[in-house]
């Protein structure tokens, strides 16, 4: 059973790596170059799937946080923390690739356009989540505070979107995609999503092992002390 699990796990990672490599090769060797933006548009095939996966990871944190508030099981907190970590990683990539693209497209690393600000605030929200956690000593308190944070932070996301809409926008409008481009986008999306899910799962496994090694056995009964039957008193 255990070895089977391990085999599936290895196969999953090998498949992800292979598909990822194929997708990158496809982007550079096969997909036609976009007419107006040139080669730099190729960043898009990575940028967008990663952005979508950032949202998915944030959503996992949100759901796990609700789960913790509802059931008070440590598992939920471990899941929330793991996916928040991956969300920050993904969001950093979104910001970095976005900045590289922006520098090439309009010569600036950073502008305070709504979409950039939005991503930055999202990144800050979840970085703060990770920073807050270790500063709370009690495991239960930490889980509680961070699950409340996880819920509010995710609800913040649409609000950030709304509030940055108030800012003057200079972001280019949507790009028309040729069929080949759509296919490339899809073939990038699949391995990136698999990678993100795999990272969350791997991080979660580590976290679980750590938690379980700290915890007392799940059976609370006293096995050392003999319990005398209750002396009836009425």
């Amino acid at each position: 059973m255990n070895t089977l699990k391990k085999k599936i796990w290895t196969a999953y990672w090998l498949a992800t790596a292979a598909m990822f490599a194929a997708a990158v090769a496809m982007v550079f060797a096969w997909t036609p170059t976009e007419a107006t933006m040139g080669t730099v548009q190729k960043v898009f095939y990575l940028h967008m799937p990663v952005a979508i996966n950032t949202f998915l990871a944030c959503m996992v944190t949100f759901i796990a946080s609700i789960g913790y508030l509802w059931q008070r099981r440590q598992v939920w907190d471990d899941l929330a923390a793991s996916s928040a970590k991956v969300a920050v990683l993904l969001c950093s990539i979104v910001l970095l690739t976005g900045m590289i693209w922006g520098h090439s497209a309009w010569g600036q690393w950073w502008t305070w356009s709504p979409r950039l600000t939005f991503s930055l605030v999202l990144w800050l929200l979840y970085v703060a989540y990770l920073v807050i956690r270790p500063s709370i000593e009690s495991r239960q308190r930490r889980a509680l505070v961070s699950s409340v944070y996880g819920v509010v932070a995710f609800l913040d996301v649409p609000l950030v979107y709304l509030s940055v809409k108030l800012m003057p926008d200079i972001h280019p409008s949507s790009i028309a995609l040729a069929p080949e481009m759509k296919l490339t986008l899809l073939s990038c999306f699949v391995p990136v999503t698999m990678l993100a899910a795999g990272l969350i799962a791997a991080r979660f496994h580590l976290q679980r092992a750590e938690t379980l090694s700290m915890q007392e056995a799940d059976d609370p009964s006293l096995d050392v002390i003999p319990v005398r039957p209750a002396g009836g008193l009425t």
Binding site: N2, W13, A17, V24, V27, M37, G38, T39, V40, Q41, K42, V43, L46, H47, V50, V86, L89, S92, I93, L96, T97, I100, W101, H103, S104, L195, G198, L199, A202, R203, H205, L206, R208, A209, E210, L212, S213, A217
Partner: protein
């Protein structure tokens, strides 16, 4: 810097971060496993029936 350099740089950064993180996770999982084995060997000498976390696999 040309557009191509930018694109390549973006891909390099992404691959480095994503797969680098995967590698660190893999390494710490391995380290944890060896630690657990050592721990268990030290804490529970052979034939201890009271040990309720005998295996090294957390799941």
């Amino acid at each position: 810097m040309s557009a191509t350099t930018h694109a390549v740089a973006a891909y390099a950064v992404t691959i480095l971060l994503l797969w680098g993180y995967a590698a660190t996770l893999w390494l710490s999982a391995r380290r944890q496993k060896t630690n657990d084995n050592q721990d268990n060997a030290g804490k529970y000498p052979q034939g201890n029936p009271g040990s309720n976390r005998g295996g090294s696999d957390p799941s």
